[in-house]
Amino acid sequence: MTRATALVLGMLAWAGVAAVAVTVVNAWQDENQVLAFLPILAAVVVAWAIGELVTARVFAAHQREVK
């Protein structure tokens, strides 16, 4: 259950990156191309952190239990 939650959380985090990118492009289009980079980059950093700090740790802990 914990692993499934961690996995879903990780997937949702990256789906969130896609959602942020699409929203930014829809809102700003050709304007503010440099500024548009920032929310996308921020979303990537958050998704990466969730993957490293939550999903990977949960799976690593499970792996240790199995061994």
């Binding site: 789906a15 990118a21 050709d30 191309q33």
Partner: protein, 213 residues
């Protein structure tokens, strides 16, 4: 050993260490992330204009793909001097065939949604190498059709991302997706016959990177 066997013997030629560092070391992942985000954003923006913008190619009142038809018409046009935007006759014949058969109706959907898909995949880092290849193919076709614009820069960037496919999606979904699917050097047990014949004592861990020890 014959001369042929000597010349073409089976051995792997290693890349120089600096190339292996650039294209295969996770330390370079932040740089690849920036390249990937830039390229992905450009594709998403281009696809967005074609799919949902004011001058969109698809989902319009009336027949779809008229802008693509006009683009093809301009590309295949030959002037009085016998030259045009397209330099290869076979490519001009190819576009002429597609235009004459009205393929612009559905091909405009392929291009518009393809560009959006490539953009999203590059931004989230999923199947990064394949997405970059698809993007490079689009750039290549636009270039063959005589449209330079940003295509040369995006094409080179896509090639570089393809070369660095192992790490270009490292800060992204590929970090988890590639090992889960089974990469050539880390197959999912039972997928490859070699795996069955010579089973590895350890099952690949979920989330274990392809180049991670």
């Amino acid at each position: 050993m014959s001369a042929l066997e000597h010349s073409f013997e089976h051995r792997e030629l290693k890349d120089p260490s600096f190339l292996r560092f650039i294209f295969g070391n996770p330390a370079m992942a932040p740089l690849w992330l920036l390249a990937r985000l830039y390229l992905g954003y450009q594709w998403l923006l281009a696809g967005w204009h074609k799919a949902w913008g004011d001058q969109r190619w698809i989902n319009v009142p009336g027949p779809d793909g008229i802008p693509l038809k006009n683009f093809w018409a301009n590309a295949i046009k030959v002037n009085d001097a016998g030259t045009g935007a397209i330099k290869y006759d076979w490519y001009r014949d190819f576009l002429t065939f597609m235009s004459d058969h009205g393929w612009y109706h559905w091909f405009s959907w392929v291009i518009a949604l393809g560009e959006v898909t490539v953009g999203v995949l590059l931004i989230v880092g999923a199947f990064t190498g394949v997405a970059a290849l698809a993007g490079a193919t689009l750039n290549f076709n636009f270039l063959l059709a005589g449209s330079a614009s940003t295509n040369p820069v995006l094409f080179i960037l896509a090639l570089l991302i393809m070369f660095g496919w192992k790490v270009s999606g490292w800060i992204g979904v590929d970090r988890w997706l590639l090992p889960a699917l089974g990469t050539p050097w880390e197959p999912v047990p039972g997928v490859l016959e070699e795996r069955r014949e010579h089973p590895h004592p350890q099952t690949p861990r979920f989330g274990q990177g392809v180049t991670q020890s």
